[in-house]
C-alpha cells in the first residue's frame, strides 16, 4: 500500500513539471530567479546523495583511506574530469571500489 502511495505521488510530481510548460506553451513565463535556481538542482541533490552514501558506509562518518567507497568516488571524479563517457567513469569507479574492498 505504501509503495503505491509513493508511486502515485512520484507520478504526480514527475509528470506535472514535465507537462505543465508544454501545455501552457505561450502563457507561461518562469520567474528568472526560479529559472536560475533550477539550474543548480542536479549538482545540489546529487552531491548530497553522494556524500551521505559514500561518507557513511555503515551509518557512521568514515573519512579515511580504509573506506572503499571513497576510493571509488575519487577515481570516478578524476575519470569524469578527464573524459566525458559516463559509462567508463562508472566502470572505473566500481572497479576501484571492488579492488579497495578486496585489498582491505
Amino acid at each position: 500500500m505504501t509503495e503505491w502511495l509513493i508511486i502515485g505521488g512520484m507520478v504526480a510530481v514527475t509528470f506535472t513539471p514535465r507537462t505543465l510548460p508544454l501545455l501552457l506553451a505561450n502563457r507561461l513565463r518562469l520567474p528568472p530567479r526560479l529559472h536560475q535556481a533550477l539550474g543548480y538542482v542536479p549538482v545540489a541533490v546529487l552531491t548530497v546523495i553522494i556524500v551521505q552514501t559514500s561518507f557513511y558506509p555503515a551509518g557512521e562518518l568514515q573519512l579515511h583511506w580504509r573506506n572503499p567507497y571513497l576510493w571509488g568516488l575519487v577515481v570516478a571524479l578524476i575519470s569524469a574530469r578527464c573524459q566525458p563517457r559516463l559509462l567508463l567513469t562508472v566502470l572505473l569507479g566500481m572497479c576501484s571500489y571492488a579492488l579497495a574492498k578486496w585489498l582491505m
Binding site: V13, L22, V45, L86
Partner: protein
C-alpha cells in the same frame, strides 16, 4: 543514448528486488514514473526507511529541472495540438530532451516533429522497462550480486553527472555547500537533511552566481 540507459535500468531492477519489494512494484516504478535519477533516489530512500512524504518531496525537487526542458521546448511545440503536447510530457526525460534538441539543431524550421519525439520517447521507454525487468530477473538469479555494489554504482554514476555539470564557479560553490551540509545534516530523521541541504546548496549557488557573475570556468 538508449544503450547508456541499459546498465541503469538493470541496476534499478536489481536494487528494487534487493530492497525486498514485490516484482510488480519495481516494474510499476519504471512503467509509471519513468524517471531514472529520481527512481534511484526513491529506491535508496525506501531502503533507509524514509517516509513517503520525504520521498515524494525529494523526487519533486529532482524533477523540477524538467520544467526547464519544457520551457525551452515551448517555441518548438507551439504548432502542435494540446492533445499531443499532453502525452509528450510523459516522455520528456533527460535522454529524450537531449535527443530532440540535437535533432532540432540539425533542422532549419525549429519545430518538433511529433513522430520523431514519440518515436525516440517510446524507444527509451520500452528499453527502460525491459532493462528493469532484466534487473529483477538477475536479482532473483544471483542474490549475492545485488548485495554488492549497487550503492557504489549510484555514487560513481552521480559523481560523473555532477562533474559534467560543474560549468561555472558557482556550480563548485553549490557542490561544496551541498557536501558540507550533507555531512552536517546526515543524522536528521527521515532523510529530511537531504532536502534541506539541497535547498541550502541551491541558494548558495544562486548567491555565488550573483556575486562572481556567470563567467564560464577556466
Amino acid at each position: 543514448m538508449v544503450l547508456a540507459a541499459v546498465p541503469f535500468g538493470i541496476v534499478f531492477g536489481a536494487m528494487g528486488q534487493a530492497q525486498g519489494l514485490p516484482d510488480y512494484i519495481v516494474l510499476a516504478f519504471s512503467a509509471l514514473v519513468f524517471a531514472g535519477s529520481s527512481q534511484f533516489v526513491a529506491m535508496t530512500l525506501i531502503g533507509t526507511g524514509a517516509s513517503p512524504l520525504i520521498i515524494i518531496l525529494t523526487t519533486w525537487v529532482i524533477n523540477l529541472r524538467h520544467m526547464l526542458y519544457g520551457v525551452s521546448l515551448i517555441p518548438t511545440v507551439k504548432h502542435l495540438p494540446l492533445k499531443m503536447r499532453l502525452p509528450m510530457g510523459f516522455f520528456l526525460t533527460d535522454e529524450t530532451f537531449a535527443t530532440v534538441v540535437n535533432k532540432l539543431s540539425q533542422q532549419p524550421n525549429q519545430q518538433v516533429d511529433p513522430a520523431y519525439f514519440f518515436g525516440s520517447g517510446l524507444l527509451m521507454y520500452s528499453n527502460w522497462v525491459a532493462c528493469t525487468y532484466l534487473g529483477i530477473v538477475a536479482g532473483h538469479q544471483f542474490p549475492q550480486l545485488t548485495s554488492f555494489g549497487l550503492d557504489i554504482a549510484m555514487v560513481v554514476a552521480f559523481a560523473g553527472i555532477v562533474v559534467a555539470n560543474l560549468r561555472l564557479p558557482s556550480h563548485w560553490v553549490c557542490a561544496g555547500v551541498a557536501a558540507i551540509a550533507g555531512v552536517l545534516t546526515y543524522s536528521w530523521p527521515h532523510k529530511t537533511g537531504l532536502l534541506f541541504s539541497a535547498i541550502v546548496a541551491i541558494i548558495a549557488g544562486v548567491m555565488a552566481e550573483d556575486y562572481v557573475g556567470s563567467k564560464p570556468h577556466d
